[in-house]
Symmetry: C2
Subunit: 326 residues, 2 copies
Amino acid sequence: MTGDTRSRAVGIDLGGTNIKGGLVDRDGHVAVKKSIPTEAAGGAGHVIDRIAGVVADLLDEGGTAPDDVAGVCVGSPGPLDADRGIIFEAPNLGWRDVPLADELTSRLDFPVWLENDANAAAFGEAWVGAGKGRECVILLTLGTGIGGGIVIGGRLWRGVNGTGAELGHMTIDYDGPICGCGSRGCIEAFAAAPALVRRMRLAIDDGADSSLAGAFRAGEEVDAKRIYEAAVAGDATARREMEQTGRFLGIAVASYVNIFNPNCVVLHGGMVDAGDMLLGPLVDEMAGRCFESSRRGLQVLRSALRGEAGMVGAAGCAFAAAEGSA
Amino acid sequence: MTGDTRSRAVGIDLGGTNIKGGLVDRDGHVAVKKSIPTEAAGGAGHVIDRIAGVVADLLDEGGTAPDDVAGVCVGSPGPLDADRGIIFEAPNLGWRDVPLADELTSRLDFPVWLENDANAAAFGEAWVGAGKGRECVILLTLGTGIGGGIVIGGRLWRGVNGTGAELGHMTIDYDGPICGCGSRGCIEAFAAAPALVRRMRLAIDDGADSSLAGAFRAGEEVDAKRIYEAAVAGDATARREMEQTGRFLGIAVASYVNIFNPNCVVLHGGMVDAGDMLLGPLVDEMAGRCFESSRRGLQVLRSALRGEAGMVGAAGCAFAAAEGSA
């Protein structure tokens, strides 16, 4: 980043529940941040108005003149076309084929870019987070799905159509369960939150003792967080399924390590709060499966930017895009 | 490649049976080539003398002055340390911890580099072969093992310790057969030549009809080539096992496509001679498993440089290394 001297960029993390925005310095410091409800039910036009409002508020609160802003980057769930700024499908927003970048540009005075949310988080962690200054950072977002991001030499590798880095859709069992993507046995089908909930339900159906048995039988919505909390409170079945999730992730991480030989693998998303209960089995399983030569110096880390990784990373992507090196 | 004006480089493909060398132009054209027996039984010093002899002969026959040679790069099976020029282990040569680059430099007037053989082949295919001019080329070498190479933006991605791109050691069945690397269910354990031979033997032991039944029962050494030839000659069991090998490869290639979203996947090595019998099932299986968005424009190609990929690619690596961009 050399030519551009504008000191700030805006990063937006567009989620189904909240729009999170940050006015970010070139050192990755968040000068001002803001979070408002997405109000997705109001439709795409309404949501884009709200994003534009967040951008205006951030500049206002930050006392920042528009000509000191390198641009705005929106991190969004995909599939999307970052080059053309179009979101093809965002189920949690109910969107199809929304030309977000053009729509937002027409409401603002800055260049606008769009980025896959996992890519944005990966860029953020490699820029100023857990992987700061490292040559090769692999990021996994663990949640309803498993997203991925690949940073090599300070740049995102997105693939030639911009649709790569789908690390959650690497097969770990070719004859395994059907995945949401249509394939079988992707790591997402084993280790994303719904897979954990499903295994927990199956264990209880099979007669395993658990503090969550009543909730499952009553048809309550049990999420991964609740399973983790049960495990912490001493529920052996919940703990076993959390650990099993860690081992599945370790199988996949071993393959990423053999493929990329990265400096670090960063884990991001709510499930990572489970900490060592997930990470211990993950690292053990990985160590037994990947080349010792590629494990030398390798770090498996929790996200440092946590809930701000997507927002900060999107701002970093805006600085990079403004320099033409995104 | 800008500063260096030396017009030629030497690429060496160091194998257990033969040393293949080529004097190569900046456009990837092989001006002179030479192949001599490795004579590995003579020991490392003897083999390195023979490599130096090949280099001298190539320059002599090519009428090339030493000061017009950018350098020599040796493509070798690993594991190795390309930065320090040390081959840690080469079972087909009986070598351990051989400082090849230093030893060869002391016998020659040029800079010498060492490169993993699959990386060299990948560089060659991306430079002047099947993936010429493409932004992202993934190469698989299919043989006794499965090697890999990753070229992004004209440069090899080797990993931070130089030990990445081990594409043959991505898990496709976490509970699958033990792999030579110590893990389980790597694609190498399913689709390298020994796995094909093993499945063929099992099929015959289970009573499958095959023209190779007698050879297996007599304890003859049956290799992948012989199985392919039997398939071509109408052996239904051999054909089924070749096709199954293609499907296993397709499972792995789908994951590489989801991870890298490359322009092309290039298949290299003797088994690729089986052509559509292998490639048809590979592409079908892949198509059913990877994202359509990443399949757009994707090519699955046979090596264009074939037996010369390692040699030509090594010369390309020498040009790149001389420019400091390897």
